[in-house]
């Protein structure tokens, strides 16, 4: 148990270090997310690196973010996921599947008149936590839900 936690801690620290270097080198400008398909964030491996690439931190606090997904998905190829929040001034939202190789699944930029209420369907190869994040003002908040998958959906 102790060694597991230590491993997670080390992984998180290493990932944060790497992204920190990338930010310092100007490789990962946050504004890039608003301009074009955020290739670095989608390529990021592991949940800590992916969260950091989108939000600037791998440690996003829990908050007023709603995530609606089935507790048990019989077909991992089509898992309906809805994200919403009652917070004001929401400009970005995103969905991560923690155990996917590249966890970032969807990233939304809310423009003129858009409500923070978006639904889609995603693929999951195995049971995993699904994490929804929303940016209200300058701050990111998250919510986490586990989805159990009985038949995976990432194969060919």
């Amino acid at each position: 148990m102790i060694s597991t936690k230590r491993r997670v801690f080390l992984k998180g620290t290493l990932a944060a270090g790497t992204v920190g270097v990338a930010v310092g080198a100007g490789l990962l400008a946050p504004s890039k997310l608003l301009a074009a398909w955020p290739s670095e964030a989608f390529a990021a491996e592991g949940i800590a690196a992916a969260m950091e690439a989108v939000t600037g931190s791998s440690d996003v606090p829990d908050g007023d973010v709603e995530l609606s997904a089935p507790e048990i998905a019989e077909n991992g190829a089509v898992v309906p996921v809805s994200i919403s929040t009652g917070m004001d001034n929401v400009t970005e939202m995103a969905v991560f599947v923690e155990l996917n190789n590249q966890p970032l699944t969807a990233h939304y930029v809310l423009g003129d008149g858009a409500h923070a209420n978006i639904s889609g369907r995603i693929r999951m190869g195995e049971s995993s936590n699904v994490i929804a994040v929303a940016k209200s003002g300058d701050s990111w908040y998250k919510t986490v839900q586990e989805v159990k998958v009985t038949v995976g959906g990432c194969g060919g």
Partner: protein, 94 residues
């Protein structure tokens, strides 16, 4: 390729439901990865929502969103994939 779009207004909010025809090939598939990277929803020519997607979005993607607006407005949905293909559909809000 096609996009089926429904846009219905109620109490000043347009509910948009779009079903895009695309195989969304993952890297392990023949010819993959081949997937929709961005979807843009415009109302009367102004961008209201941009979706950036990974290949882990399901095949034939569905997107539901809500934006402020009125009956008679024009809603345009455009997707572009990682191989430069694209499709667009325009509907009048009911």
């Amino acid at each position: 390729m096609s996009i089926r779009v429904r846009a219905q207004e109620s109490n000043g909010v347009i509910n948009i439901r779009a079903l895009m025809s695309h195989d969304m090939l993952v890297p392990e598939d023949d010819g993959g990865p081949h997937f929709i990277e961005t979807v843009e929803i415009k109302r009367n020519g102004t961008t209201a929502l941009t979706a950036n997607w990974q290949f882990t979005v399901s095949r034939n993607p569905f997107l539901q969103a809500e934006i402020d607006g009125a009956s008679g407005d024009t809603v345009t949905i455009t997707w572009k994939d990682n191989k430069g293909e694209s499709d667009s559909s325009e509907v009048e809000v009911r």
